[in-house]
């Protein structure tokens, strides 16, 4: 079930991406509504990270095109932010928390120019939003997983973008941090921003997102959460993995998820 919206913020048209001529994403065609919290969900290796990277043009697509705010990405890069998977960088790198958050301002600064007071203030403000201001001077090698994740988030916030792509921001964070982050994302949505989040916990997905994209090499579904998170579509996404499916079934029953009754 693939639903489309009028005036989408993100429009992906017939996107195919391959590594070494081996396609990992096939003909993905979707649109996302503005001002929403979008969850991208699928099993490991489904191509979730690949989709995000291809949308941001960090990987070249074999075919298809992407429009963000109706424009090619190169024209709107300064309105877009990205939170990469936490494991994608070396946290032993000699940098402080503040150094990393300040990177969020680099896109707006040209060559030669150094961060000004306004940039430093913005970085500090972003740290406050994730409740990490006390750690500004701390070395990034001394952070816990959840703190690293919040530093990455603060860097994206410092950019003050209109759309955010976040790759597994909840991976390896404790429940308190997760709650704090989702609160923050909701506030951003209230301000009209769009947040696209790669997520793999089905339990919380129903609660967190307005719109869900189910992916497993092909696009299985894209639509409002209550229409997409159904037993049938999840079965389709996760294939015949019984353990997962039983859990999902239990979950849907336990939560009395409305979509189930609609079937």
């Amino acid at each position: 079930m693939i639903l489309h919206v009028e005036n989408p913020v993100v429009e992906v048209h017939d996107l195919t991406v391959s590594y070494d001529r081996k396609p990992v994403l096939w003909g993905v065609d979707l649109t996302l509504p503005a001002g929403s919290l979008v969850g991208v969900i699928g099993p490991n290796g489904a191509g979730k990270s690949t989709l995000i990277k291809a949308v941001m043009d960090l990987l070249s697509a074999g075919s298809g095109y992407v429009r963000i705010f109706g424009k090619p990405i190169e024209e709107v890069r300064n309105r877009i932010s990205y939170v990469p998977q936490r494991e994608s960088v070396d946290w032993d790198f000699p940098a402080s928390v503040f150094d990393v958050v300040l990177m969020g301002r680099y896109g707006k600064l040209g060559l030669f120019s150094r961060p000004r007071k306004a940039d430093k203030d913005a970085a500090m403000e972003a740290l406050e939003k994730v409740n990490m201001q006390a750690f500004a001077k701390r070395q990034i090698s001394q952070l816990s997983g959840g703190q690293q994740q919040r530093v990455f988030l603060a860097r994206a916030l410092a950019q003050n973008a209109d759309i955010y792509f976040m790759d597994e921001p909840f991976a390896g964070v404790d429940i308190a941090t997760e709650t704090a982050i989702i609160e923050l994302l909701r506030t951003m949505r209230e301000q009209g921003k769009t947040v696209v989040v790669v997520h793999h916990d089905l339990q919380s997905a129903a609660e967190y997102f307005d719109w869900v994209v189910l992916l497993n090499m092909r696009l299985v579904a894209s639509g409002p959460t209550e229409k997409v998170l159904t037993q049938e579509l999840l079965e389709h996404t996760y294939g015949g993995r019984l353990t997962v499916l039983t859990k999902v079934g239990d979950l849907l029953r336990k939560q009395q998820f409305p979509a189930r009754e609609k079937k």
Binding site: L58, R77, S81, Y106, P115, L143, S144, Q159
Partner: protein
């Protein structure tokens, strides 16, 4: 990164030999051009093998430089009779001869040792490059994915950095030899990394440690009546060992109690 410097310093050998054979002289400019070309070719080849042939990057580096270095050695041994360039000189350099290679103008004015001038210009260029591109170099080194996402060309910065490494390597190579170049590319930054967690401090500290090693190495060589380059390389190694054991933050012996991250 350290490996790439190592690779370049070896792979420039055929460039130097070819420049030598073509011009028949030990003029620095043709040598720099020959070596610089090979230096860049090395970075391109490594990227090419890694990205398009899907060879692991350490393997790509290993294949590229051993192959180019071998070509250099073959050229050197085949033409050894004709050229006044020997393997020892290329590998170990001879810093002691630097003061003998004087830059004299046609009117006979003495500017002092030639390499002092070339290396000073290179040092200025590199410092300027770091000043201009500090933010970009810092970001692309830490998180290339994010750098690309905000519109920086990670490829362009990678080649700019590698160009700077080639330039430095090639310019220093002539006077100090491949081994000392590699020692200086790797040891002082590695030592500084053990001593500080701040990127700026790390850059400054590497320079300081390099200078210290040069001075100490020189006197060590005089005292032992040995090779200057060898003594300097030994001191860089010594600095690293000392930091490894005694660094206050990362040392094996004195590691201060790890600050426990606070869970919020």
């Amino acid at each position: 990164m350290a490996m790439v410097g190592d690779a370049i310093s070896h792979a420039v050998l055929p460039g130097i030999v070819i420049a030598f054979l073509v011009t028949g002289s030990r003029e620095s400019v043709p040598m720099l051009i020959g070596a610089g070309t090979l230096g860049l070719l090395t970075t391109f080849l490594i990227e090419f093998f890694h990205r398009y042939a899907r060879v692991q990057s350490d393997a790509a580096i290993g294949v590229t430089f051993t192959w180019l270095f071998a070509i250099g050695i073959i050229l050197l041994s085949v033409f050894a009779g004709q050229v006044d360039l020997d393997q020892d000189c290329v590998l170990y350099g001879e810093i002691a001869y630097v003061p003998l290679d004087i830059w004299l103008t046609d009117s006979g004015y003495n500017f002092g040792p030639r390499t002092i001038w070339t290396l000073s210009v290179v040092a200025l260029l590199i410092t300027a490059f770091i000043f201009v591109g500090y933010k970009e170099l810092f970001l692309t080194a830490f998180d290339p994915g994010y750098a690309a996402a905000i519109g920086l060309s990670t490829t362009a910065w990678y080649y700019a950095l590698m160009g700077a490494v080639s330039l430095t390597t090639v310019a220093s190579f002539e006077s100090v030899g491949a081994i000392l170049v590699v020692a200086f590319l790797v040891a002082p930054p590695a030592t500084a990394y053990l001593l500080t967690d701040d990127f700026r401090q790390m850059l400054l500290l590497s320079v300081g440690l390099g200078i210290l090693a040069s001075v100490a190495g020189y006197y060590l060589a005089v005292w032992l009546d040995g090779s200057i380059a060898g003594a300097i390389a030994t001191v860089t190694g010594l600095e690293f060992m000392l930091a490894l054991f005694f660094s206050p933050s990362r040392g094996l012996l004195l590691r201060r109690k790890q600050v426990q991250p606070v869970q919020l």
